[in-house]
Amino acid sequence: MNNETHTPSSDFAKEIALIPGGEVINKCIQCGICTASCVVACVDDQYRPRRLIQKILIGKRDEVLKSDQPWLCMTCRMCEERCQEGVSPAEIFHAVRILAVKEGHIPKVFQITVEKVLCDGWMLADAYTDFNEDEREDLGLNPALAWNDTFTKKVKKKYLAGEESA
């Protein structure tokens, strides 16, 4: 094993421990039960929650914050349920995401999604066709989805006023 495993290269773990939800990170003994229980890890051969926590512990701050991986957690909390040491990878990755956002590291796909929602009022506006319109009408629903727009406008006005003006 190389030296960096033993001496963290940064205070990243301490930094995470200061964020609510991240306190428990130092209890991790790297047993791997989180990975063995993870529904995402089951289908993604890159995503390994234990490995990610290991990277935090050994101080790979940049690599972790710039990575897409902390964003892949589905927060199903199965890892938290099964962890015998009281660690919650779901909470830790939430803490990592808070830090990443502060430093502007948001995966492109998340940015696009959020922007889409703020703009259209819903995520799948492009998929909304005449066909759906007819169907909604048949069901006695309002075919116009402008009310979603209204809602996001309200949200933007109330919470993101600065951004809208900018």
């Binding site: 790297q30 047993c31 989180c34 990975t35 063995a36 490995r51 015998q84």
Partner: protein
């Protein structure tokens, strides 16, 4: 808890009253402590909860890291302890209370009844094949079975048997005649029908008769009823009688009359005959006098033949007669005095209550109105009363239903029961009511007759009124109330009144003190009347009751008469103190299964004649029904073990014994329990048969275990080819409140893995671990040997879950191999979970008696972990073994010796004083 902590004198000035010690727990640590104290000359009481010393070490196959045979190491220790003159064993015992202080404790213990005399029993095992009751063997982790009378393992110490008995089952408690249903049913399960019949006849000579007409109080209380339906107890003993009729008795009947005092029984009904039967079995010459031309009483004259064929009754009466009872029919007795003059030393009056009650309304004497007892008697003697087309039967008891069904058989077209309460309160046997309805009986419930309509003194109809149910009355049944203005008329040709019976106003019984209802006043316990040597029972005492109650009276009277003639106290110790097994004590985890149906004669055929309606079980269905019995009390008290034992060591009446031990010091060595791994559903224990835990594995590989040492899969009995051992389950888990390392699992896990390879080097063995703690002498070497020499695979990673292939029963373990950062699904055909260890059940109870406060994980806290590691916080109380923390065998033994030394420092001060 009354321990006095106020006297905090320094040890040197201790007032030590007793130099004896108590060791709680007979495992390897407790035995070490006991031996070390006893070898210094102190008397030691060694208390063990289970029937044998040995603790968990006796269950273990091999020790680590030396791979010694656990039993071979332990057995010499067991015999050393049992033979030591200074050690007194109290096995199968519990601590009830502790009082006093260091040097002067008073400990009350309960020595539970093992129903076998330790001194007489030679552990020859003759009783084992006689016992019909099989239960899971706890010592083998319930993988195999043992009998209710058992020895946990061959080297059990003390070398004696124990009977597991919870008390008296509900069925037996419910039976007035004290028939033992669990007893005969347990034997039926094994196909021992003759033995079963003997059990029944111990308390009741009418298996076939009551197998047809008994009200079956037992079935009402049967615990199986809480699960699905009660066991058909009545039909089962009927089967036993049918079986004997078909196959003949297995032993000849011999009358053994060896006493001189002649006894007269008046009345050959169920009470009189039962009394005669029990008396001749004791050796008394008995004569039964019967006024009617044939014996049987109400069984013959009250119960129709389609329910009780006459040959069955005659055979069972004959069976009683063969035991030596003389039955004189057509012999009315003049007076009690005349009997005494004839030289009878004791008399039992059982003349019954055959007088029909009246309705008490106008017109009851009109033509066409019969009373049930007359009506049935005439019908049963072949001289029935003439009936018209429409018949009403007033009443809801068995006599009413019987009369109605006889009326149907006599050709009445429309038979109606008129009963003033509802279906629920109907006192007749429900299955009889059901059968009668199939035969076309109408039920007019919540209806009461108020006037009899006659013309020229001949019955024309009944004026009835509708009723509703009000508050319960003194009998607990809801009192019927009249609904005003609901009167209506029922046109009938005949009416049968079946509203109960009473004792005939004139008769022999008038010579005794009678109650206002005309029944004889007796001592309810002994059935003595006011006249010396005269006893009475059955309906003449109870008023109209049931056959089984009459039989019960006959039996009790026989006991009284025997005592009276032997001139011993008739009343003393008549009521046995018994514990009725409660529903929550019974293992109810059984699949539900309805009662076996009783085959019946078809309706169309049976209403033409008096042939029997219920046809009786076949052998197969009887065995099937017997298998439904839950065996509530475990030991069924068939007492066949008593017969099998040549040393008279078995005593089913043995009682728990409570004794007080004065001791100067107490050593706690209560051991541990394994974590219940079914608490981890993701690992599949309890759900998948091939997931077992380490102690089950120990028993499976042990030569004296349930498989004689063959390591097999529980799903199919085949040898496993690939075994996975899962470590750290129920230990180091903060989520389940067990944060500590159990200290032994790593090494016993590796030992178990090595043993798998020793059994078959071809088996693929993998251990899943978080880290291996091989901290003791030789441990690391053992670990390396397992890896290098035995080729055991070690995968670092805690197991996420275990999945089962439903077809093959094989198991897939999902784990992250943390060395390779890879998720792996690895297939095994056997998975062994290594559970952590926990403080034993019941330690909290003992601790609270001692005034000890347990720590948050439930262990006994020690005074100083470095300098006083076996001293508890209570002076004079010491801890060893696993009660204060998990330990392996050598550490437990070391602690045992240490605790013994600490205790004798106190005890020796008592010696100096003397």
């Amino acid at each position: 808890m009354t321990i006095d902590h106020t006297s905090k004198k320094s040890t040197s000035k201790l007032d030590v009253v007793s130099s004896e010690a108590l060791v709680i727990g007979g495992g390897v640590a407790g035995m070490q402590a006991a031996l070390d104290m006893a070898n210094q000359g102190f008397k030691v009481h060694l208390l063990e909860k289970t029937p044998s010393l040995g603790g968990k070490m006796a269950m273990i196959d091999k020790t680590f890291p030396t791979l010694d045979c656990s039993a071979c190491i332990l057995t010499p220790r067991l015999s050393e302890v049992s033979r030591h003159p200074n050690i007194e064993l109290h096995t199968y015992s519990d601590v009830i209370s502790v009082a006093g202080r260091v040097g002067d404790f008073k400990v009350k213990i309960r020595k539970r009844a093992r129903y076998v005399d330790e001194d007489k029993c030679s552990a020859c095992a003759d009783c084992v094949p006689a016992c019909p009751v099989e239960v899971p063997n706890e010592f083998d982790q319930s993988l195999g079975f043992r009998k209710a009378i058992y020895q946990p393992f061959p080297q059990a110490t003390p070398s004696t048997y124990t009977i597991t008995k919870l008390g008296t089952p509900a069925c037996r408690e419910a039976c007035p005649a004290d028939v033992n249903p669990q007893g005969f049913i347990s034997l039926m399960k094994e196909g021992r029908f003759h033995d079963a019949l003997r059990i029944f006849r111990k308390s009741n000579p009418f298996p076939g008769v009551l197998g047809r007409v008994c009200i079956a109080f037992c079935e009402g209380e049967c615990v199986r009823g809480e699960l699905d339906e009660s066991v058909s107890i009545r039909n089962l003993h009927r089967f036993l009688a049918d079986y004997e009729r078909k196959h003949g008795p297995d032993r000849p009947i011999e009358a053994k009359i060896d006493k001189d005092e002649r006894i007269a029984v008046v009345g050959a009904g169920p009470a009189g005959l039962a009394c005669g039967y029990h008396l001749v079995k004791m050796g008394y010459p008995v004569t039964v006098f019967e006024a009617q031309p044939e014996a049987g009483g109400l069984l013959r004259y009250g119960i129709p033949e389609y329910r009780l064929p006459r040959d069955i009754l005659a055979e069972e009466i004959d069976w009683i007669a063969k035991h030596g009872v003389k039955i004189k029919t057509s012999s009315p007795v003049e007076s009690i005095k005349s009997l005494k003059k004839e030289g009878f030393k004791a008399i039992f009056l059982a003349t019954g209550a055959s007088n029909s009650n009246k309705l008490g309304i106008a017109g009851e004497e009109a033509k066409g109105i019969y009373h049930a007892s007359d009506f049935l008697e005439r019908a049963n003697s072949g001289k029935p009363y003439p009936l018209g087309e429409k018949v009403a039967v007033i009443g809801g008891g068995d006599a009413a239903i019987d009369s109605a069904r006889v009326a149907i058989r006599l050709g009445a077209k429309e038979v109606t029961i008129v009963y003033r309460r509802s279906h629920v309160e109907l006192p007749a046997i429900p299955s009889e009511v059901e059968d009668a309805r199939e035969e076309g009986l109408n039920l007019l419930l919540l209806t009461n007759p108020i006037e009899i309509l006659t013309s020229k003194d001949e019955l024309r109809g009944i004026r009835c009124i509708k009723m509703k149910l009000g508050e319960p009355d003194h009998s607990g049944r809801r009192r019927p109330q009249v609904i005003r203005g609901s009167e209506f008329t029922l046109i009938v040709d005949n009416m049968i009144i079946a509203v109960g019976q009473s004792v005939t106003p004139k008769g022999l019984h008038e010579e005794c003190d009678c109650s206002e209802w005309g029944t004889i006043k007796v001592n309810p316990l002994t059935l003595e009347t006011n006249m010396e040597g005269v006893f009475a029972g059955g309906d003449v005492v109870l008023g109209p009751a049931t056959a089984v109650k009459a039989v019960a009276h006959g039996k009790e009277a026989a006991i009284s008469i025997d005592r009276f003639l032997r001139k011993v106290n008739v009343e003393a110790d008549r009521i046995e103190e018994r514990h009725r097994v409660r529903v929550e004590e019974v293992d109810m985890e059984k699949p539900t299964e309805p009662r076996v149906d009783m085959p019946k004669h078809g309706v169309a055929g049976r209403i033409q004649s008096y042939t029997e309606v219920e046809l009786g079980f076949e052998q197969e269905s009887a065995t099937q029904e017997a298998e439904r019995c839950l065996g509530c009390a475990i030991c069924c008290e068939c007492e066949l073990c008593v017969e099998a034992c040549t040393r008279e060591a078995i005593d089913h009446k043995m009682q728990d014994e409570i004794i007080e031990l004065p001791v100067g010091a107490i050593v706690l060595a209560a051991g541990y329990r394994l974590y219940d791994v079914s608490d981890y559903p993701r690992l599949g224990y309890g759900k998948f048969p091939n997931v077992i835990h380490a102690m089950e594995y120990e028993r499976l590989i042990n030569a004296s275990g349930p498989t004689h040492g063959h390591l097999i899969k529980l799903s199919d009995g085949k040898l496993p080819k690939s075994i996975g051992f899962i470590q750290c389950v129920g230990a180091r888990d903060v989520n389940r409140g067990v944060p500590e390392c159990s200290r032994v699992c790593c090494m016993y896990g590796i030992k178990n893995a090595v043993m798998a390879k020793e059994h078959d080097p071809e088996i693929d063995v993998t251990i899943y671990y978080a880290d291996i703690r091989a901290f003791g002498k030789g441990f690391e070497e053992f670990y390396n040997m397992a890896k290098d020499r035995f080729g055991i695979k070690f995968i670092r990673g805690r197991v996420g879950e275990v999945m089962e292939d439903r077809e093959t029963g094989n198991l897939t373990v999902r784990v992250e191999n943390t060395d390779e950062h890879a998720i792996q699904d690895i297939e095994h055909d056997l998975v062994v979970i290594s559970p952590g260890i926990q403080p034993p059940w019941g330690l909290d109870v003992i601790a609270s008696e001692l005034g000890l406060e347990l720590d948050e994980t439930g262990y006994v806290p020690v005074k100083d972990e470095l300098l006083a590691p076996v001293d508890t916080t209570i002076p004079g109380v010491f801890a060893c073994g696993c009660v204060d923390s998990p330990k392996d065998i050598p550490d437990s033994v070391t602690a045992g010796s240490a605790a013994a030394m600490r205790a004798t420092i106190i005890l020796s001060q008592a010696e100096k004083k003397e």
